[in-house]
Structures are given as structure tokens and as C-alpha cells.
């Protein structure tokens, strides 16, 4: 019986050595160590032995069983290791193939720029207010201190709307030429103090590389007691820091708008050349960014506010121009062609 046990071990060693894969090793394990396996069969004859033989044979049987188990476990590790090595040694992926396509869309430059500008002003406590684009002359011009027959109207060539359905007087309906009528609507619908931005579309009869008949503006208005020109400078400079970066400087030049007095243009130092002068800033070191000024008392009055108690400032900027400067576009019309090859760049 001892010989049979030892023989079992010998043949197992031989067969395990020849086993090529995990399945064969498993077959051997079942054959030798399974419930009805060879070891079990040999040990099944133990009952016939004398107690002395049974003890000594038992010792041998235990040793053989342990060795068989170790042998098979080693074989399992070996075939697993072999399989791993085979797997690692196989042909590699073609890592140069493009990645699996995920759907990914793109924001339009204008809407994203507008959102960025809005966010900067929201950080300064401004609230978003919107008004209609089909507007009344009275709100687009008259209330903003631009009477009929004033040369300032030349600056804003207007699209007029045929509005037979409207209760508004004929020849009084137009596409707003700026977002500024939003100032009047805001004042007429909200009590002071007021701190708003008015983003949106505006329209002028104009079309070339730097003008499109529709464009986007964002307008701001702050009215309260004791608001000063210094507040205007501080607020718009804070916007520049927030939107363009802390390294950009501002400067203010006198200008003229009917709805503000005093009026100013704000320039921002050129980000391309850090103010040294380059093609982008036409070698001036500065970029004209927005028009602004202290709200004209006539405009406060038109908004129903008490111009003797309140002052304020307002500003307006062209969104396309900002987007073009930021991204290096030189033809504004490309923004509205909506060619996917263009859209996907941003």
C-alpha cells in the first residue's frame, strides 16, 4: 500500500510536468485528489489494515496527500504564470488608431463670450435684465435723449419695422439699434437702486468686415444715490481685471453719447503685445472696448427716476468685437456663417 501511494506520487509528478494548461492541471487534480480520485481509492483500503499498519500507512498517506496538493498548487501557479506571460507577449494594440468617438458639441463664440462677460459683472453684483428687440422709437431714441432729426442718429442707421398689427403709432417701430432701451424699461419697471446688465441682439443697417446688420451688445446700468464718475472707472476697471486679467490696464478718453454726460471711451491695454504695440492694437498698445458715461439727467427722468436725487453710470460694449479680439478673428461675418469647421474650433 505504501508502494501504491509512492507510485501515485511518482506518476502524478510525471503527469503534472507534462500538463500544458489550467484545464489539464484541473483534470489531474480531480483525478488524484478528487472525492473519487486515486488517492481516495487507495485510502479506501485502509480499513482492512491492522492498527499499527494503519498508523504508519496513514503517516505516508498524509505526506503523499500534502505533496500532491503542493504539487498541483504549484502546477496551477505555473500554468497561470505561463498564461500571463503568453498574454503579455502577444501582439500589442495599434495605439495610433483614433480613440472611440464620443459626441461633443461646441458653444458658439458669441454666446460663450457673452456668458463670460455676464459672469464677470455678476461677480460685481449686477443682475441680468432683458428687453425686446422689436422696439419703439420712443424707447430706442427719444427716451435716451436722441430726438428726431438729431445728427447722433447718423451713428445708428436703423431698420424700421412695418407693424400694421401694432397699437404703436406707424413709423415708430424699429429693431433696436442698441441694448440701451433696456435701461428705460428697467427703470420704469423697478425702483432704484438699480444694478443691471442688459445683454442681447441689436441691429443696424451696416455690413462689411467689421459690421454685421445684427450684432450683440451688453449694456450696464447702475443708479443709486451719490454714484460718481470715479465709481464708473472703478467698476469697469474691476470688470477688466475679472474678464481680461489682472495684468491689463485701462484708460478713459472723453467721448460723446447722447444718453450720458460726461461720456467716455474705455480702452484696455493690448493683451497680444502687453501694451507695446502690435498689429492687433494697430500699434497703439490699446484696444477700444466700450463706451460709457454718467447717465444723462434726461434719461433718468425718462425712466421715471428723480434726477435731482439719483445719479448713475451706464456702459455698452460690442460682444463680437471682444470675441474677435480674444480669438484672433478678422472678419466678423465668419461668426454668423455657422460653418461646422469654424464652430468646432472653439
Amino acid at each position: 500500500m505504501r508502494d501504491r501511494l509512492e507510485g501515485l506520487l511518482t506518476s502524478a509528478r510525471e503527469e503534472v510536468r507534462r500538463a500544458a494548461d489550467a484545464a489539464q492541471v484541473e483534470t489531474l487534480r480531480v483525478r488524484y485528489l478528487g472525492r473519487k480520485g486515486e488517492l481516495a481509492q487507495v485510502l479506501g483500503g485502509m480499513g482492512k489494515l491492522s492498527p499499527e499498519d494503519r498508523r504508519s500507512v496513514g503517516e505516508v498517506a498524509n505526506r503523499v496527500k500534502a505533496e500532491l496538493e503542493a504539487l498541483l498548487a504549484g502546477a496551477v501557479r505555473a500554468v497561470e504564470e505561463a498564461a500571463l506571460q503568453a498574454e503579455l507577449a502577444g501582439p500589442p494594440l495599434d495605439v495610433t488608431l483614433p480613440g472611440r468617438q464620443q459626441p461633443s458639441g461646441h458653444r458658439h463664440l458669441v454666446s460663450r463670450t457673452l456668458e463670460d462677460v455676464i459672469r464677470s459683472f455678476q461677480r460685481l453684483g449686477f443682475d441680468v435684465f432683458t428687453g425686446p428687440e422689436v422696439e419703439l422709437d420712443a424707447l430706442n431714441f427719444e427716451a435716451l435723449n436722441i430726438p428726431a432729426d438729431h445728427p447722433a442718429r447718423d451713428m445708428q442707421d436703423t431698420f424700421y419695422v412695418d407693424a400694421p398689427w401694432s397699437k404703436a403709432p406707424a413709423d415708430q417701430v424699429l429693431l433696436r439699434t442698441h441694448t440701451s432701451p433696456g435701461q428705460i424699461r428697467a427703470m420704469r419697471s423697478r425702483p432704484p437702486p438699480l444694478r443691471i446688465v442688459v445683454p442681447g441682439k441689436a441691429y443696424r443697417v451696416d455690413s462689411d468686415a467689421t459690421h454685421t446688420p445684427m450684432f450683440h451688445q451688453i449694456e450696464g446700468l447702475l443708479v443709486d444715490r451719490g454714484i460718481t464718475f470715479a465709481d464708473l472707472k472703478g467698476t469697469l476697471t474691476a470688470f477688466v481685471t475679472s474678464f481680461f486679467g489682472a495684468d491689463r490696464k485701462t484708460r478713459f478718453r472723453p467721448s460723446y453719447f447722447q444718453f450720458t454726460e460726461p461720456s467716455a471711451e474705455m480702452d484696455v491695454s493690448c493683451g497680444t503685445c502687453a501694451g507695446k504695440g502690435c498689429r492687433v492694437c494697430k500699434f497703439t498698445g490699446w484696444l477700444e472696448i466700450l463706451g460709457c458715461g454718467m447717465v444723462h439727467p434726461n434719461v433718468l427722468t425718462a425712466g421715471g427716476y428723480d434726477a435731482s436725487q439719483l445719479t448713475g453710470f451706464a456702459w455698452g460694449m460690442g460682444v463680437e468685437r471682444i470675441a474677435m479680439l480674444r480669438h484672433g478673428l478678422d472678419d466678423i461675418r465668419s461668426l454668423f456663417e455657422n460653418d461646422i469647421r469654424f464652430l468646432e474650433q472653439f
Binding site: 445728427p151 398689427w165 445684427m214 467721448s255 454726460e261 460726461p262 464652430l343
Partner: protein, 809 residues
């Protein structure tokens, strides 16, 4: 407007260099857009005297000249013949670059050395004359730079004068500003007019019948004039300002306008019937041939300058041909009038004219400048055209204007600017600008506005005057206190943001389009009952569009998105997903009253899908976008908003395919529509088939959005999964079956998912197989097998019974 620096030096003793001057003016509110140096292109060209000339030994057409260049004698080979020894001519010295880019170098021409080039007027870019050398006046000194010799050593400031500053549309006006900015007095002297003894009033009469249109009419009469060319200096100054020389009399009127800002008109007095001027509105049927040769019918509101019989000029706008100064003119009536800005503006617009005169009158001309203008012009005509000026001046001024007076409170400048400005500085600046302190009141000063500053009428205007002269950079930068103005962000802003992000995540590129579209699109794309497809649509229409293709405001975002598709398909795109978030424009019969807008302008979210679902690629597959891609995009949007999945109902509405389109409803709220473009519309618009669209109303999305959802506790008990497949008629709707399952299953059924739809063999025609995956879970315990078994069996039975479905398992 162009301003000559040399001309300003007539009016000011000293001036900063041109660039510094430009900067100072710009930062005081008179923007200088550019500075030109007309002499710059003549660098290296000097005056030279020809001291000897011999024929070239080897070339019959060339001469060998010796010239005095001022810096020594040079030998120059020259091809021209129009000179004599002793003449002064332009010499381009070695290294000079001519306006055409030619660089002058030492050369040897047929064996003879030449150290420069003698130039014609054309070679120097001064005139078209290429016939020979430009012969220069004899009084010049050799070696003088040619630019200086010709008065071209000037700087011309190209100014962009804002519409309020009509006073700055002249050299005098700009000089006034510079005098304040540089702290020097203006050198302005009243012209000395040499007069004859004969009274002007005996030669001409002026009657103003319309005192609204004509505020003032000043006139002088100059006789014995000889029409001829203007002197060189005058021509150069006009040229510097971009004005072409005509003859001495016309040039003088232009010169005085550019100098003083007062437009003048010179009438040939002998062609004024009755030797009189009548200012009135035009009469019915009257016509006028203007200086451009155009015969114009006059409008009743036109203000005209007439003689005894008929109109001779459009007041302040354009002269008439009949009374034009011509070669034979001997006697001139000089008009220096002040016309009403609105009258001139309307008239100029009616006649589509924009002249130097109308430009100035529209902006307001100094009412005091008319008499000064005719005096200055008369003096120049005496000097330059041999004229004899009649004694006196006609000056019709029916209602002399009272000076504007503005009350400025003490401290008002500092208060509005937020900068400490001493009252003495306020007074100094305003006085320098010509304002006069009329009266000190308690706590205020009354300032009289100078007649040329027609733009100033309010204390804020005076604040601006002080601020711009001091410089805006002297005002500090402060931040205003954030008072109770802060409001929460409107929900719509957050909803827009989420919609954009969701669609970007679903592979949509955002587009932004013009709001006005081609009117032929609207009958095709506007959403309405299918029977109305192709019929006219009432839209908001422009009166003066840039083109017929941009003449109506869109009623649907599809009017923008479909042309975008066409463009991109033309560009070879095979996979298109676009969206736009923007307004459409709808007539509002109640609009235009009070603050109610004239049109309704709802914000919509429109989407378009076409072509490959994924871009071409090795992992992309060949599948194309279909209805369910569009619906899926909408569902993604609603998920991003925290809104429940909407229910869909088949619709029969334009511009959709009646078999593949739906309205989307969430509770009571109609969100919008989704579907395939109607094949007939695709054909009419020459678009490919299979275009998928959706359009949602932003306000509706705001209503269903839940941007701050509350937590729903996680169920920790295990779930049991069971599938259910039914064969039903093809018309049966998945949603109805799902509803039955959900209803019968009750709260134990946590989720019902359609995981397969099959049509085809071995199913009989007209039937489809729908497979659902059900997830059972109880909120409070682990479900037992037989419990799920029973529930599932019950659902199977009920679905079978209610829908006549055949069970397949």
C-alpha cells in the same frame, strides 16, 4: 475733418509736436484718428540749381548736368529737355526713396557717372505732369528740403469730431481747444477789410421770410473781381484738408469755412435778379439745378435762397448752378448765414445730400460767425482776386439769440466726478474755454455759455468740460457700495446654461444666426397644422431690409437651422448636429402700448440632426440620426434640468413628417415638438431627406425645471430582475404597455425599461415584439422569490388581457 498743424500756427504761437498734439486733443475729447506727414515721402529731395548742361557724349536723348545741391556740386545725367541753365529743380539725392519706391543710387549711364536724379512732378507724386522736370520758383535756395520749399513740411491731423462738437469743425475751433490745453492765448485778429465808399445796401438787399429756418443772414458785396487761380499757399492748405482748388473766389469761401467753421456761399451778384436775396420755403412746382448739374424738384419744406424770382440755392446745403461763380464773374455777393440745424438736416436727407456746409449746420454753427466769415472772405478777395469791397455789411438777424446760462452748484463738479476739484480750478478751466461767470449766487455760479458751444446747456455739460480738460485720468477709481440692488439670478439664466451644456454634451454645435430670414422660408418651416403648410405666414417685416433675403423676422428657429444645414452639407459635412438658443418674433395684436413690446419674442431652443450619428471613423458605424436621436437629445435636456421625462403624442403639424413627429408634454406644460422634416418641405428647400428637428420653448422649460432637487433615499434592499416580452399590433404604443405594467405592478415595480423592439419574421406582418426589463424592489424588505413570481405572473396576465397581447417567453 483734416486739420493742418501749420495752419494752427497762424492762430497759436507755439504747438507741441504733431504726435503729442494728437494725444492731447484725443484725451480732451477731440479724437485724432491719424497723423499724416505729406512731406515725408519727399525725404532726401532738395532744391538744386542747374549750373551747366552738356549733351551726353554717347546718347543723344540725355544731358549731363552740373547742379548746385546746396552741399556741393554734383553731376547728374538727365533725360528731360524743359530746363535752362540757372533753373531750380528738385534733386533726389543718393539714398532717397521716391513715392513709387524707387531708391536713388549712384549710377553710370552710358559711361557717365550720375549722383542723383532730377525729378518731374509725377515722379515726386505731386501731380500727373510727367512732361519734364518740375521747375521751382526762383526765390528758393539750393539745398532746401523740397517739402519745406513747397510748404509740405506739415502734419495733418485726421480728426473724428463727435456730433456734439460742431464748434471744433474748423482750425479756429481746434486752436481754441489747444489754447486751453497748452495755456496760451489765441492769436485771433479781426480782419481788416479795405472798403470802398459805396454802400453795400445800394448794391443788394436781403429779406428773410422764414426766421425759423434762417436765424441770421450776413452778406458782403465785392466788385471788380478777376477770377483766376489761387496762390500756391492757399492751394496747399486746401489740399492738406482734402479740398480741391477751383478758383480764387470759390477757394476763399472754402478756406474761410475751414478756418472759422462758417460755411459761406458766393453768388454771382449779376445773376441775381433784382439784386436781391429772399430766404423762404420752396413753392409748389419750383425746381433748382444744383452745382452737381442735377435738376431737382423742390419740396415745400425746403428752405431756399432766392433772388427776386426763383430759388438759387438750397440753404446751407448746396448752391445752384445758375448763380455759380464762373470765369466771367465780376461782382460777388458773399453769404454768411446761420441756418436751423433741423431744417438743414431734413432737407439734406430729402435730397440725399451731405455737404461740408450741411454737415456743419446740422451740428450747429456759431451764430456770431456769419459776419466774421464774410469779413474775412471779403478781405481775402480784395487781396487775392483784386476785388473792391463795398462799405458795410448786410446783417439780417430777426431774433437775436439770448446766451444760454447754466447754473453750476458749488461742489457739483467734485460730487459728480468723485474727485476733489477746487472751485478755483473749475472757474479757471471754464473761463479759458470761453464761459463767462455772470453771477455768483449762494452756493452756485451762473455761467454764460459762449455762442459757439451750442452743445452746452446743463450743469453736467460743464462738469464734462472740466473733467475732459483736467483729464479723465485725474479722477480716481472707486467701487460703489453694493446696496439693496442685489437680486437672485433669474431661473431662466440657469436653465439656459444647463440647456447649452446638455446639448454640447450630446454633440450639438451651437449656432447663432441673423434674426431676419428669407420670407420664402416661413410658409415652409413655421409650426402649425399640417393642412396650412405652404400658406402665407404673418410675420414681423422690415421696411428697409439690406436684401430681400433678410427681410422678415423668423417665426421659427428652423428658418435659421435649415439653411445652416444646407451650407454645411455643401461643405461636405456628413454628420450634422446643430442647435440655436434664441428668439423668434411673433406679432402681438395687443403690443406697443405702454411697456408692452410690439412683438412677442419667446426664446426657443431649436435643434437639427442629420447624417451619421457619429462622425465617420473606424468605431463610428454607419447608423444615421433618426427620430429617436432627436427625441433622445430632448430627453437629455430635460434630465439636465431635473425635469421628468415628457410624454410624447403623435402630431400632424407642419413642418414635420406626420408619421414621425410628436408634441412633448410634461404634466400640463407643452414643451415643444420633435420630428422628422416633412419630405415635401425637404424637397421644396432642396434639403436632403431624414432631417430631424426639435424646437422647445424656454419659458416652458423653466416651468418644469427643478434645479435644486431634493434627495430621494437610496433603496438598500436587493432588486430582482425579470423580463417580459409581448407581441402586439404595430400601432400599439410602448408607453401604453409600460403604463399598464407600472399600474398593475404597483410600487414593487421600481423600473420598466424597453430593451428590445422587433418587427419581422417569424412575426406575422403588422405585429411587433416589445421586450421590457422589469426591476422589482420593495422599500422595506428583501423580496422573496415567490412574491416576485406572483407579481410578475399577474402583470403578464393583465397585459395579455387588456392589450390582447400574446406572451412570448
Amino acid at each position: 475733418m483734416k486739420v493742418s498743424r501749420n495752419w494752427l500756427l497762424d492762430l497759436l504761437a507755439t504747438l507741441p509736436p504733431a504726435d503729442a498734439l494728437a494725444r492731447q486733443l484725443t484725451f480732451a475729447g477731440l479724437e485724432v484718428e491719424a497723423v499724416e506727414f505729406p512731406g515725408a515721402r519727399l525725404a532726401g529731395v532738395v532744391v538744386a540749381r542747374i549750373i551747366a548742361a552738356d549733351p551726353h557724349p554717347d546718347a543723344s536723348k540725355l544731358s549731363v548736368t552740373q547742379v548746385d545741391s546746396g552741399a556741393g556740386q554734383l553731376q547728374i545725367v538727365c533725360g528731360a529737355k524743359n530746363f535752362q541753365v540757372g533753373d531750380l529743380v528738385p534733386l533726389a539725392t543718393v539714398d532717397a526713396v521716391l513715392p513709387d519706391g524707387t531708391k536713388i543710387a549712384r549710377a553710370t549711364l552710358r559711361g557717365v557717372d550720375s549722383e542723383g536724379m532730377l525729378c518731374s512732378a509725377r515722379e515726386l507724386g505731386l501731380a500727373d505732369d510727367a512732361a519734364g522736370l518740375l521747375l521751382l520758383p526762383a526765390n528758393l535756395t539750393p539745398g532746401t528740403p523740397l517739402a519745406e520749399a513747397l510748404g509740405l513740411d506739415d502734419a495733418v491731423l485726421e480728426m473724428n469730431v463727435t456730433p456734439n462738437r460742431g464748434d471744433a469743425l474748423s482750425h479756429l475751433g481746434v486752436a481754441r481747444e489747444v489754447s486751453v490745453l497748452t495755456g496760451q492765448a489765441l492769436r485771433q485778429k479781426a480782419p481788416e477789410v479795405p472798403e470802398t465808399s459805396e454802400d453795400v445796401h445800394a448794391a443788394a438787399r436781403v429779406r428773410v421770410e422764414d426766421a425759423v429756418g434762417c436765424r441770421r443772414f450776413a452778406a458782403r458785396v465785392v466788385e471788380g473781381i478777376t477770377i483766376g487761380p489761387s496762390p500756391e499757399w492757399l492751394v496747399r492748405r486746401l489740399q492738406a484738408c482734402g479740398v480741391r482748388s477751383i478758383n480764387n473766389v470759390v477757394d476763399i469761401t472754402n478756406y474761410v469755412m475751414l478756418e472759422l467753421g462758417q460755411p459761406l456761399h458766393a453768388f454771382d451778384l449779376d445773376r441775381l435778379s433784382g439784386a436781391q436775396i429772399v430766404v423762404r420755403r420752396a413753392r409748389a412746382g419750383e425746381r433748382l439745378t444744383t452745382l452737381d448739374g442735377k435738376d431737382r424738384a423742390l419740396f415745400a419744406e425746403d428752405l431756399v435762397v432766392c433772388d427776386a424770382e426763383r430759388p438759387k440755392a438750397l440753404a446751407g446745403t448746396f448752391g445752384g448752378a445758375e448763380s455759380e461763380v464762373s470765369q466771367g464773374t465780376r461782382r460777388v455777393l458773399l453769404e454768411g448765414a446761420n441756418w436751423d440745424p433741423v431744417t438743414v438736416r431734413r432737407m439734406a436727407r430729402r435730397h440725399q445730400l451731405h455737404t461740408e456746409a450741411s454737415h456743419r449746420f446740422e451740428r450747429g454753427v456759431d451764430v456770431a460767425a456769419g459776419p466774421a466769415g464774410v469779413d474775412r472772405a471779403a478781405a481775402l478777395m480784395a487781396e487775392l482776386a483784386g476785388g473792391a469791397v463795398r462799405r458795410g455789411r448786410i446783417d439780417v438777424y430777426p431774433a437775436p439769440a439770448a446766451a444760454t446760462v447754466v447754473r453750476l452748484e458749488t461742489g457739483q463738479v467734485s460730487r459728480l466726478l468723485g474727485a476733489a476739484v477746487a472751485e478755483s480750478e473749475v472757474a479757471r478751466i471754464l473761463s479759458a474755454l470761453g464761459f463767462v461767470a455772470e453771477m455768483q449766487q449762494s452756493g452756485a455760479t451762473l455761467w454764460r455759455v459762449p455762442s459757439w458751444r451750442v452743445d452746452v446747456s446743463l450743469p453736467e455739460d460743464l462738469v464734462e468740460e472740466v473733467a475732459r480738460i483736467r483729464g479723465y485720468d485725474t479722477v480716481p477709481a472707486t467701487l460703489p457700495a453694493l446696496t439693496e440692488s442685489l437680486k437672485p439670478e433669474p431661473l431662466a439664466v440657469e436653465v439656459e446654461r444647463r440647456v447649452r451644456n446638455a446639448l454640447a454634451g450630446a454633440g450639438f454645435d451651437e449656432v447663432v444666426n441673423y434674426s431676419f430670414v428669407d420670407p420664402v422660408l416661413l410658409p415652409q418651416v413655421t409650426e402649425r397644422p399640417l393642412e396650412e403648410l405652404g400658406t402665407p405666414v404673418e410675420a414681423v417685416t422690415l421696411k428697409n431690409p439690406l436684401s430681400p433675403q433678410q427681410s422678415v423676422m423668423r417665426t421659427s428657429l428652423f428658418a435659421s437651422l435649415l439653411p445652416n444645414l444646407a451650407h454645411n452639407v455643401r461643405q461636405g459635412q456628413e454628420s450634422v448636429r446643430l442647435y440655436e438658443l434664441g428668439r423668434v418674433y411673433l406679432r402681438d395684436p395687443e403690443g406697443g402700448v405702454g411697456l408692452r413690446p410690439v412683438a412677442r419674442e419667446p426664446v426657443r431652443v431649436g435643434g437639427l440632426l442629420w447624417g451619421r450619428r457619429l462622425p465617420r471613423g473606424w468605431t463610428g458605424g454607419e447608423a444615421v440620426n433618426d427620430f429617436y436621436d432627436a427625441k433622445g437629445a430632448v430627453e437629455a435636456v430635460l434630465r439636465a434640468l431635473g425635469a421628468p421625462t415628457p410624454s410624447a403624442r403623435l402630431i400632424r403639424r407642419a413642418p414635420y413628417h406626420p408619421r414621425a413627429s410628436a408634441s412633448l408634454v410634461s404634466g400640463e406644460t407643452v414643451l415643444g415638438t420633435v420630428g422628422e422634416l416633412h419630405p415635401a418641405v425637404a424637397r421644396a428647400l432642396e434639403l436632403p431627406k431624414g432631417v430631424q428637428l426639435f424646437e422647445l420653448d424656454l419659458e416652458a422649460l423653466v416651468r418644469v425645471a427643478d434645479v435644486v432637487p431634493r434627495l430621494r433615499a437610496l433603496n438598500r434592499f436587493p432588486a430582482v430582475l425579470r423580463d417580459l416580452a409581448v407581441v402586439v399590433p404595430e400601432t400599439e404604443r410602448a408607453e401604453d404597455i409600460r403604463a399598464v405594467i407600472q399600474e398593475v405592478g404597483g410600487p414593487l415595480v421600481e423600473e420598466v425599461l424597453v430593451f428590445d423592439v422587433y418587427v419581422g419574421k417569424p412575426l406575422p406582418p403588422g405585429r411587433k415584439n416589445l421586450a421590457f426589463a422589469l426591476r422589482y424592489r420593495a422599500p422595506d424588505r428583501t423580496l422573496k422569490d415567490d412574491e416576485v413570481q406572483a407579481a410578475h405572473a399577474h402583470i403578464v396576465e393583465e397585459v395579455n388581457r387588456r392589450l390582447g397581447a400574446e406572451l412570448r417567453t
